[in-house]
C-alpha cells in the first residue's frame, strides 16, 4: 500500500479485523445503499456524534491492472487526482478543501485505489463538486506530471530504497509471484516511475475511473437522503464506460521453496516469509485469521512466546494479509536480534507451524482469538473513519457490505479442526518464499 501522505491510514489488515463480529445487527448499525444510474454504488452510515463526515471512494483499479513498463501507474495516478481538473485547477483542490475545514488523503494497493475526505458537514456540497470534477475532468498538466514524478520518486526512496522492510518486502513479492501482476511493487520500479508517458497516463485514467468501477461510502453527520440527492446532482450525470479488462493470469502452484537474499549495510538482519493463500472472499478467510491470531497476535501468541520470550532470538514477530481480489500471500516478518543467525529464527517458526499442524489448538486459544477479534471490531467501528473504511472494504472485497454483519456467524463457525486444516493446507515448505536481509558493513564490502 502506498499513500499520498505519511500521517494517515493504517489499512493493511483491515479485512482481517473482523472475527467474532458480535451484536451490531442491522438495527444498531444501519447502512443505506443506492446504486446510481451510472453504476456507482453509494453506501451511507449515519452517525451524529460529531459534526463531521468521512467520505471514501474505492476504485477497483490497482497495480494488478498494470504491466511491465507501467508499474506504479495506479499509484502515480492517485497523486495526479489531486493536481487539477476543470473547475478546480492545479493546487485548488487542497486549498479549497482545507479552507473549508476539510482534509484528504488516498491510498493505493495491488487491487484498489481509495480516496478519502474528512470534513465538517458544512463542506458537504463542496466536496461533491470537487469529487465530480476530478472524476470526469482530470487535467494532465505536463509541468505537474514532471514535479509529481519527483514526489513519487521521493516516496519510493522513503518507503522502499531507504527502508529495510520496504526493500525486502518488494523483493519478496517479486519472488513469490512469477506470473501474476502481484509481483511488482505498488509504488512501481524506479525506472518505470522515470519513464511513464502521457499516453499511458491518459489510458490508465480512462480504464480505471468509470463510475461503475467505484463504490462510495459516507459515514458521519449526514442523512442518506441528502447524500443520495447530492449524488444525483453531482455524480449520476457522469457517463459510464468500460471498466478495466479482467486480470486473467493465474499464479501457477508453487512447487518448491524459493529463497532470496538482500545484502546491504544494516545493523540488524531481517526475515520476511510468504505463504500463498486464497483471495479474500474465500471461505478459508476466517479459519486463516483464527490461526494467525493464535500464532502471531499478542505477547501470549505462540510465535512471540517461542521466538521473543523463550528462545530470545527475535525482537518481534508478526503476520499480515492485505485484502485481495486474487490469490494472495500471508506475509510473516521476523526481526532477529543482532548477531542471531536468521535461519535460527526460521527454524523456530517452522517448528511452531508443525505443532499447529500436528495437534489442534486448545479451546482457550480458540476462545481467545474470538475475543481479540471482538475487541478489534469495536476499535475499528468506533470512529466514522473506521466505519467508512470497513464498510467499503467488505463491499469491495467480499462483494457485499452486509457480509460485515455475517462475520460473527462465520467466525463462531470456525472449529479447531478448521484451524488445523488450514495450517496443513497453506503452511508447507513448498508453498513458501523466504527473503533475508543480511547486514554487510563497509569493510566486508571492500573485500569483495
Amino acid at each position: 500500500m502506498k499513500t499520498r501522505l505519511m500521517s494517515r491510514a493504517a489499512f493493511a489488515v483491515m479485512a482481517a479485523v473482523l472475527l467474532g463480529a458480535p451484536v451490531w445487527g442491522q438495527a444498531e448499525f444501519p447502512v443505506a445503499a443506492k446504486t446510481l444510474k451510472n453504476g456507482m454504488k453509494v453506501l451511507v452510515q449515519t452517525d451524529h456524534s460529531i459534526p463531521n463526515v468521512a467520505l471514501y471512494i474505492f476504485y477497483r483499479v490497482g497495480s494488478r491492472n498494470e504491466g511491465p513498463g507501467t508499474t506504479g501507474l495506479s499509484h502515480f495516478f492517485e497523486h495526479m487526482m489531486f493536481n487539477g481538473a476543470k473547475k478546480y485547477g492545479p493546487g485548488d483542490l487542497d486549498k479549497v478543501m482545507e479552507a473549508n475545514g476539510g482534509s484528504n488523503n488516498a491510498y493505493t494497493t495491488r487491487d484498489v485505489t481509495v480516496y478519502q475526505d474528512w470534513f465538517p458537514r458544512s463542506a458537504l456540497p463542496l466536496i461533491y463538486d470537487i469529487e465530480a470534477d476530478r472524476i470526469q475532468n482530470l487535467s494532465f498538466d505536463p509541468q505537474k506530471i514532471k514535479s509529481e514524478r519527483e514526489v513519487v520518486a521521493s516516496e519510493r526512496r522513503l518507503r522502499t530504497d531507504n527502508d529495510n522492510s520496504g526493500l525486502l518486502d518488494e523483493q519478496l513479492w517479486a519472488t513469490a509471484y512469477i506470473a501474476h501482476p502481484y509481483q511488482w511493487p505498488v509504488v512501481g520500479w524506479m525506472s518505470d516511475i522515470e519513464h511513464w508517458t502521457m499516453e499511458q497516463l491518459k489510458h490508465h485514467f480512462e480504464m480505471g475511473y468509470s463510475p461503475n468501477n467505484a463504490t462510495m461510502v459516507v459515514a458521519g453527520d449526514v442523512s442518506p437522503e441528502e447524500i443520495f440527492q447530492l449524488c444525483e446532482k453531482y455524480i449520476e450525470p457522469i457517463p459510464t464506460h468500460a471498466p478495466p479488462p479482467p486480470v486473467t493470469t493465474l499464479e501457477p502452484e508453487q512447487l518448491g521453496e524459493r529463497r532470496l537474499i538482500v545484502r546491504k549495510p544494516s545493523q540488524l538482519p531481517l526475515v520476511l516469509v510468504a505463504y500463498h493463500i486464497p483471495q479474500t472472499n474465500n471461505p478459508d478467510f476466517y479459519a486463516l485469521n483464527v490461526l494467525r491470531t493464535v500464532l502471531f497476535q499478542g505477547e501470549s501468541s505462540r510465535m512471540y512466546q517461542r521466538l521473543v520470550d523463550k528462545d530470545q532470538i527475535a525482537l518481534d514477530v508478526s503476520s499480515s494479509v492485505e485484502p485481495a481480489f486474487d490469490p494472495t500471500i500471508v506475509e510473516i516478518a521476523i526481526q532477529p536480534k543482532q548477531g542471531v543467525d536468521p535461519q535460527k529464527c526460521e527454524k523456530a517458526m517452522y517448528e511452531e507451524f508443525e505443532n499447529a499442524k500436528n495437534a489442534a489448538i486448545s479451546d482457550t486459544e480458540l476462545e481467545k482469538a474470538k475475543n481479540i477479534r471482538l475487541a478489534e471490531f469495536y476499535r475499528e467501528m468506533r470512529t466514522i473513519n473506521g466505519r467508512a473504511n470497513t464498510i467499503g472494504t467488505y463491499e469491495v472485497f467480499f462483494g457485499d457490505y452486509k457480509k460485515l454483519f455475517d462475520a460473527a456467524k462465520n467466525y463462531s463457525a470456525v472449529t479447531k479442526e478448521d484451524v488445523q486444516r488450514v495450517a496443513k493446507t497453506y503452511f508447507g515448505a513448498n508453498n513458501r518464499t523466504v527473503s533475508t536481509l543480511i547486514p554487510e558493513n563497509s569493510e566486508e564490502k571492500a573485500k569483495q
Partner: protein
Amino acid sequence: MNRARQGLHVLALTMAALLAVSSAAAQTLHMPPHEKYVLKNGLTVLLLEKHGVPLINLYAIVKTGAAADPAGQDGLASVTAGLLRKGTKARTAQQFAADLDYIGGAFEADAGADFSSVSAEFLTKDLARGLELFSDALLHPTFPQSEVEKLLAQSVDSVRGAKDDPQQVLGLYYYGYLYGTHPYGRPSGGDEVSLQRIKRDAIAKFYETNYAPGNTLLAVAGEFNGAEMRKKLEDVFGGWPARAVAAPPIAPDPPAKGKRLLLVDKDDATQTYFVFGNVGIARNDPDRVAIRVVNTIFGGRFTSDLNEALRVESGYTYGASSFFDARKAPGPFGIFSFTKNETTGPAIDLAVQVLQKLHKNGVTDEQLKSAKSYIKGQYPPNIETSRQLAQIIATHEFYGLGDDEINQLEARVDAVTPEMAKQVIQKHFPSENLVFVLIGKASAIRAAAEKYAEKRDARPISEPGFWPPGTK
C-alpha cells in the same frame, strides 16, 4: 518556477469566492462532562462516561518521566514502565500476557520526557478483570531479574534497528544536538550504551520513588456507570499506600545562539533526512493558540508554506512540515523534510527561505481565515473516542490546562488577529539562530551542508548513542 505558483494569482478571485463560504457553519466544540476527585491516598481520578461503544479506557500519568533519568542511565523511566507487565505479585509475564490477550485487552506503558504513562483498554463486559490486570501491573510489579535482562537486551537491539531507518532516529539526534545536557536532550528510550548500564536495583528504586498515588493521575473514560466505577476504583486503588513524592522540576533551557550543524553519516542513504530549528514553547504558553494557527499555515498541513514550496512546487520531497513539541518546559521546534542526495542543498535552501519569508511577509488574511476553518473543521475527530478522551483529560490535568482548552478553542482560534500572528512569528519562530541535523550519505552531501553553519560536527550512524552531553 512552475505553473502552480503562477496559477495562484490567476485563481485569486475564484478562491476568494469559495473561501467566503467557508466560515458559514459555526460549530461548537464541547468537552463531554467529566468529574474529578481525589482518593484519600492522594490518587487523582478523572471519570468520563461515554456511551455507544462498549469499551473502557484507562490512562494513568505518573508525573515523573525520562527527564528524571539519572545521568548516564537514559532509558530508566522507559524501561521501568516497560517492565510493569513483566512479572507482578500475582502473575508471571507469561500469565499477564495470557490473561490480557484472553479478553482481547490492550496494555501500554512508556515514558516520555515529562511523564510516564500506563494505559489499557477493555470491553465493558470485562471491566472487573481489566481493572484487576491494570492495577496489578501499576501497583504490584516485581521486576524479575530475568525479565529485566531480557527487556534491556531487546531495547538495545531496538535502538540499533531504529538506526537502520533515518526517519525513526532523526528526532533523537536533533533533540540531543539542540538541548545537549538539558534533560530534553536525552533519548527517552535510552541508547546502546546507557541501557547497558541500567541495573535492576535502579529500576526498582525508580519505581519505589515515583510510582505513588500522590504522584499519579488516573483517567477512566468509556461505557460504564459512574457510581459503580467510583466504587470499583476505590476498591482497587484505595489501598495503594500514600507516599510523598517531590515532583522533579524541569528548568527551561534558553534557545541556542548562532548556527551549528550535525551531519550523521549513513553511507548507503540515497536520500537526506534533515531537521532544523530551535527551542520552542511550553505546553501552557499563553500564545499557544496563535502559534497553532501560524504553524498550520507555515508547516502544519498539506497546503502549508513548506509543503507547497518543497513538494507541490518543486517536487524536492514527498513531504515537508514543521512542529512544536510543546512540553512542561519549552520543547523543541523543528522544520523537517527529506530529499534525494543531489537536491539536499537546494531543498534546505528553500526551507530556510520559506522561514525567512514568514518573518518578512507574515501571513495573509486569506491564509489566516483558511487556517482557522481548517483547525476548527478537523478538530472533532480528535475527541471522538474514549481512548482519546481519557488521554486528553489526563494530560490537560498534568499540564494544568482546563476544559476551556477545548470548549474555548473555536473562540480563541477566531480571535487570532494578523497582529497576533506577527507577534508570535517574531517571538516563537527562530530566524538567525538555527540548529541543523542531517542524516545522509556524508561523502555526497558534506559540501552542500557546510554553508549552513560555521560550527559543524559529524559522526557515523553506527556509533553508539545519539549525541554526547556537554555540547551546549
